[in-house]
């Protein structure tokens, strides 16, 4: 009895507020836009019973998805999201790995402090962290002032409202997600393995490539997915730091919904985004599973 209630409460909550809303998105993505409230058709009328339901089904179609393939805005937005997410993930790895490595090699009494310093930004507002870059990257911003001041450049650089600013924003905000799993993998690495490698004739660098990197592979993969997956659907960073040339699917969805009020197309965009995300999510789950089995 108690057990059933315990299961039922969170279960029903998630069904009602997670699964059903998602099914509604799916359904609206198959509907037609209409100048009405709500702005789509057909709407399901339960009073008409089974006939109403079949009538309802017959009116659903894949028109919106066909539309997505015809208008190259959407194609480009998906591709550019993938590209921006992938490149920022790579950059985050290049920036994050040395930090994680240095943390794992730091004296044990320092590690908790370093770890806290990495986690602290995660607790600070995402919006504020993105916002802080506007002042740095703008034409008359701190970066340009600094570079002009030391004489490296003579004309201010245009960084804000370009894709470069989006890369910086994603790397900056998601860096802790990259550092933490790599650090966790490297911290477990036994120092004597490197000593053994050197003892067997490796140089420091080849010991790093042949021992450290392979043993931190699981952490690298986990970190990459943890950056890539949220970056793909990102909205705040492209809309604050990106420019008109920055096409990201989260932003397109937002505008489709709020500016064009085309709910069926917005829903179709969401469904396709989710389909694209399933691949990395499944790969990520597999990686985690393997990791657990290897440790377990």
């Amino acid at each position: 009895m108690g057990r059933r209630l315990l299961i039922a409460v969170p279960y029903l909550w998630l069904l009602a507020l997670f699964l059903i809303p998602f099914l509604i998105v799916l359904k609206i993505s198959l509907s037609d836009p209409e100048l009405a409230i709500p702005p789509y058709t057909p709407t399901l009328d339960w009073r008409e019973g089974w006939a109403g339901f079949t009538e309802f089904l017959s009116q659903l179609d894949f028109e919106n998805f066909v539309f997505l393939t015809e208008d190259d805005l959407y194609w480009k937005a998906y591709l550019s999201s993938l590209q921006i997410a992938a490149l920022s993930t790579l950059l985050a790895l290049l920036v994050g790995y040395p930090i994680a490595y240095a943390m794992a090699r730091a004296a044990p009494e320092w590690r908790p402090t370093l770890l806290m310093l990495v986690i602290l930004p995660f607790w600070t507002s995402f919006l504020i962290r993105v916002y802080s870059w506007i002042g740095i990257l703008s034409t008359e911003g701190y970066l340009n002032q600094f570079l002009l001041g030391i004489g490296v450049i003579s004309e201010p650089l245009t960084i804000l409202n370009t894709n470069v600013a989006v890369y910086i924003g994603i790397v900056y905000t998601y860096l802790p997600f990259m550092i933490l799993p790599i650090y966790a993998a490297l911290e477990k690495l036994d120092d004597s393995l490197l000593e053994a490698a050197e003892d067997l004739g490796c140089s420091r660098l080849s010991a790093f490539w042949l021992v450290t990197v392979p043993l931190s592979k699981a952490g690298i993969i986990a970190g990459c997915f943890l950056v890539f997956i949220p970056a793909l659907g990102e909205f705040v960073i492209p809309s604050l730091l990106g420019g008109s040339e920055t096409l990201m699917i989260g932003k397109v969805l937002w505008e489709e919904f709020f500016s064009n009020r085309d709910w069926p197309v917005a829903s179709a965009v969401a469904v396709v985004l989710l389909l694209i995300l399933i691949v990395p999510i499944v790969l990520f789950q597999r990686n985690e599973q393997r990791q657990r089995e290897a440790e377990g």
Partner: protein
């Protein structure tokens, strides 16, 4: 450490400079006299004063705080229940779907979560406002809470619960008297996580908030779209300050507790 070389020192210095400089600049310039935020014109706290006069921000902050407290409390209760179900309830029909629904919101893009909830609220004719934001925030933060709590429950020695049953507790008493006090730190960090997620959320709140209720992130977002403003700098400084003090205090408390426990354990073994 032998390997603590110049390379590691450089990596840490540059890495933490990258992580912290933007926020430090923000804090410094919140005390700037000038409205031109990129030009330093002397120290002043006037933007904090202006901020406290700004009704729009104060109202939004009040809404945000209400939403965060209520939604994180609900999320903690539901998330703890969900964690208990995941770790302890064994097999039941629909278990795979259940764990899927717990983990999916963690990787779901916020735009999709927001859109789907908005469509639900419109579909059932629920007026958008504080209530709808609370429902939305509770739903996604309960998943985070359940991940935090279930990782603690997995490590929890099950024989403690069995001992409680053995000594005459009902299952509910065993949870209340034994399990809950022991997992309390995880439940508290789950609550704090849910609270910050709610304070922080822009996208889902934008979808689910109506004209009647505007949260602080929505207010900040519409303001910073027009560029940097000294009031937002001041507001950011306050928020960063609260979080920093909170996180450092929490970690000091838990570090001291761990140190004291270890010292007492060692003393007990020595005395034996």
């Amino acid at each position: 450490m032998r390997r603590f070389s110049w390379f590691n020192t450089t990596a840490l210095t540059l890495g933490f400079a990258f992580l912290y400089l933007p926020m430090i600049i923000l804090i410094v310039y919140s005390f700037n006299e000038s409205r031109l935020v990129t030009v330093w014109a002397g120290f002043s706290t006037k933007w904090y004063g202006e901020l406290l006069q700004n009704e729009l921000f104060l109202d939004a902050a009040w809404v945000t705080l209400q939403v965060a407290v209520v939604s994180s409390t609900f999320a903690t209760v539901l998330g703890t229940m969900a964690a208990y179900v995941l770790v302890r309830a064994g097999r039941f029909s629909g278990r795979t779907l259940f764990s899927g629904m717990i983990y999916a919101p963690l990787v779901m893009p916020e735009v999709i979560t927001g859109l789907s909830l908005l469509l639900l609220f419109i579909g059932i004719g629920l007026d958008r406002g504080v209530l709808t934001i609370i429902l939305a925030h509770t739903t996604f933060s309960m998943c985070y809470v359940s991940v935090v709590v279930s990782s603690r429950l997995v490590a929890f020695d099950r024989s403690l619960e069995e001992a409680a049953l053995d000594l005459g507790c009902t299952p509910w008493e065993a949870f209340r008297l034994v399990t809950l006090p022991i997992i309390a730190p995880a439940v508290i960090s789950g609550w704090l996580l849910a609270f910050t997620l709610s304070l922080d959320d822009l996208v889902i709140a934008s979808f689910t908030a109506g004209p009647a209720a505007t949260t602080l992130p929505i207010r900040i977002f519409s303001s910073v779209r027009l560029g940097v403003s000294p009031e937002i700098n001041a507001l950011s400084t306050i928020m960063i300050g609260i979080v920093t003090v909170g996180v450092i205090t929490a970690s000091l408390i838990s570090k001291n507790a761990a140190l004291r426990q270890r010292a007492e354990e060692q003393a007990a073994e020595r005395a034996a």
